[in-house]
């Protein structure tokens, strides 16, 4: 039987180290299969998150040979198995145990973004009319499975640890889905600039590269939002007009 070796990070918030595990592999296996097999046979307390095992829930995010990926969608035959495969937790979040990190920050951020606020229904039966071509873009954003790999790879969060200031690509996509929702009447542009600090994103597109749902995060979500911010705040005519009207919401 063929085997492969996995270097899995074991540890907690105090620190940890890689531990080697060798396990049997079979056709079609993904990294999550190997991790669960190691858990069942060699290391019962090896902590990892998973649910659907089909790339739909976004639970099993990890860094595999240094690349942020879903363990359930990373097939072993795409990795060089002559070398040990390293599996470690996401780096942009505090470690809890082994492959599990504390992602609660993401849940707090989401609560801060103004919720969906639809216009009054279009039809007497309380329903709306929306054309498919008007929702294609929003549906792309709503494919997000909240695996937080884009957050993990974003250098503003990963390297500069600006979690206090910057909401990260996931929540820019979330804001974009709300802003571009044909029914939504809320305005989040001021917050995008002043609270969410969209300006911190310098469009390196790392988030787009790692997105397992292939959402074009930078081009389709972040750049159009940046344009809205520019339109609102840096358009010379609007800037001039703003002198004559107060914007209390801009100063919080």
């Amino acid at each position: 039987m063929k085997t492969a070796t996995f270097k899995i990070w074991r540890g907690d918030s105090q620190g940890g180290d890689f531990v080697d595990y060798t396990t049997e592999i079979s056709e079609g296996m993904v990294v999550l299969d190997a991790v669960l097999q190691i858990q069942a046979e060699q290391a019962g307390d090896l902590a990892c998150r998973w649910n659907c095992k089909a790339g739909k829930c976004g639970s099993c995010s990890a860094e595999i040979n240094g690349m942020p990926k879903l363990m359930c969608m990373t097939r072993l035959n795409t990795l060089p198995l002559e070398e040990p495969v390293t599996v470690e937790p996401m780096k942009a979040f505090p470690p809890i145990k082994d492959l599990i990190t504390d992602v609660s920050w993401n849940y707090e951020i989401k609560k801060r973004i103004k919720k969906f606020k639809p216009r009054p229904p279009d039809a007497p039966d309380g329903t709306w009319r929306m054309m498919q071509e008007d929702i294609d873009r929003v549906q792309e954003f709503r494919k997000c499975i909240e695996c937080f790999l884009c957050q993990d790879v974003c250098h503003v969060l990963r390297d500069h640890h600006l979690h206090e200031k910057f909401i990260g690509p996931r929540f820019l996509v979330y804001a974009a889905a709300l802003e571009m929702h044909p029914l939504d009447t809320e305005n989040r542009v001021v917050e995008l600039r002043e609270d969410y600090n969209i300006g911190y994103c310098n469009i390196t597109k790392c988030c787009t590269t790692v997105c397992p749902e292939n959402i074009t995060i930078t081009d389709n979500a972040i750049i159009p939002l940046k344009e809205r911010v520019v339109d609102e705040f840096y358009d010379p005519i609007k800037k001039f007009l703003r002198l004559f009207r107060s914007r209390p919401s801009a100063k919080k």
Partner: protein, 603 residues
Amino acid sequence: MAEYQTFEHDVLVIGAGGAGLRAAIEASAAGVSVALVCKSLLGKAHTVMAEGGLAAALANVDERDNWKVHFSDTMRGGQYLNNWRMAELHAKEAPERARELEAWGAVFDRTKDGRILQRNFGGHKYPRLAHVGDRTGLEMIRTLQDYGIHQGIEVYMECTVIRLLKDGERVVGALGYDRERGRFRLFKAKAIVLATGGIGRAYKISSNSWEYTGDGHSLAYHAGAELIDMEFVQFHPTGMVFPPSVRGILVTEGVRGEGGILKNSEGQRFMFDDIPANYKDQTADDPEEGWRYTQGDKTARRPPELLTRDHVARCIVREIKAGRGSPHGGVYLDIAWIKEKLPNASEHIKKKLPSMYHQFKQLADIDITQVPMEVGPTTHYVMGGIRIDAETQMSNVPGLFAAGECAAGLHGANRLGGNSLSDLIVFGKRAGEFAAAFAKENGNDQINAEQIEATARQSLAPFERGDGENPYQIQHDLQAMMQDLVGIVRNEEEMIRALEGIKKLWRRAENVSVAGNVEFNPGWHTALDLSNLLTVSEAITLSAIERRESRGAQFREDYPSKDEEFSKFNIAIGKDSDGNMKISRVPIPEITAELKQIIEEMG
């Protein structure tokens, strides 16, 4: 003395998939304090995996549809063992619940005139499933989650409940542990809603995640509630079969709704060979008519691939057993063939079934727009569950409610695809509403410290045993046994063996040991889930033995026909005073004249 943190709320909702979230939202809107406890992170529950859509008679695509047709389809699919009042409420209320999701931000696919698009699905007479490509469950859970987080609900993520606490007859709280630190948590509550989903981890080949260990079924049973219809486990006809590591992962019925056909190794479209008498009038005569149906021709009848799941699964098993299976023990599901019919078929498939395309491409190196998929049945859903009141969703234990998959009644002997997502929001809402009302009418009762102490001690015992058994091995052995002996095709002799096997596994589970400490320890979590899995496995097996006939999802090779006598009752499981499982037959109340007439009129 065990240490624990105490949290106090009016309503405690256990489980945060569609039903739990919807219940929590409704209870919170009624002005009571609500706790929502989930085993995983919020938004990761099994609802996220639902693909095909949400059944609601909106009549956006076919104006002939209405609640009566939906009701009648649901009853026919369930072989009339359904709780007809639930089926009625479900059919009537699903459209409003679906529209409500849109008001909360859901973005369903659209018709040409801008309304919610609906697709064909097995057992539904008209195109009825509101959907978003093949990721409808994600849309639903995310909509409820994003709406729910602004409703003042207290969410406890990664927390598992291990016991319901009672004072006399009534439930008064629950004991759980947080997965991260392994600390016990006491939730005091005036009413509890169970929304824990299903039992799929009792089987080896399953589309269900690790969470699906029958927690709600088991918690309710041990708290004195009755379970009904537990013999009815739905094996979805199309799960992936290859490569081995993905065996069981779901392939949506939407593939067949979009025109996908089933073929055996001889290239024969075998579903035309066996069409049940009660579906003859609704089924296409030939492939051409079937194709026209999937393309929206209202004069055409549906292809046999869209017969109910129980029947399609059995036909697939028949082909495999007869030696006409695919190389890896499945049959072929072909959507690529539609290129004969449609220009741009490849793009069309990717647009309609994006996650299926993605799933096969990434996990099996197969391009479904070019070649057929290999598929076979996979454990998917349990129709059986906690017996509840149709209107209020309360069980026979005062203050204990249930909604969604862990509750029973709506689906009878077989669930129609798409009726699960609608079930979650229709009855999730009702459970939340009536749980809140119950909480307002009833005060807090006494928590019994001894119950907490005993449960805490028992759950920590696996750490004390040095050389007990590996919990993963016991779970694995149970799954293999249930798959072999209480699977799609059943007989009494094998199921008696299964009961003996379960007894042995109970003894092994009592001797389980785990390494490490209580902090995020999946070995320990697996050990604690074992008793739930064993409880539901025993309930399934006992009920399946008792139903000496074949109906819906239950196929008995020793009793291969339907028996009129068995159409008159549901099989119920309860706990007797000695702590043993007792089985009883609960007569189905007579259906109202109005509903009876609807069924007759719909043919």
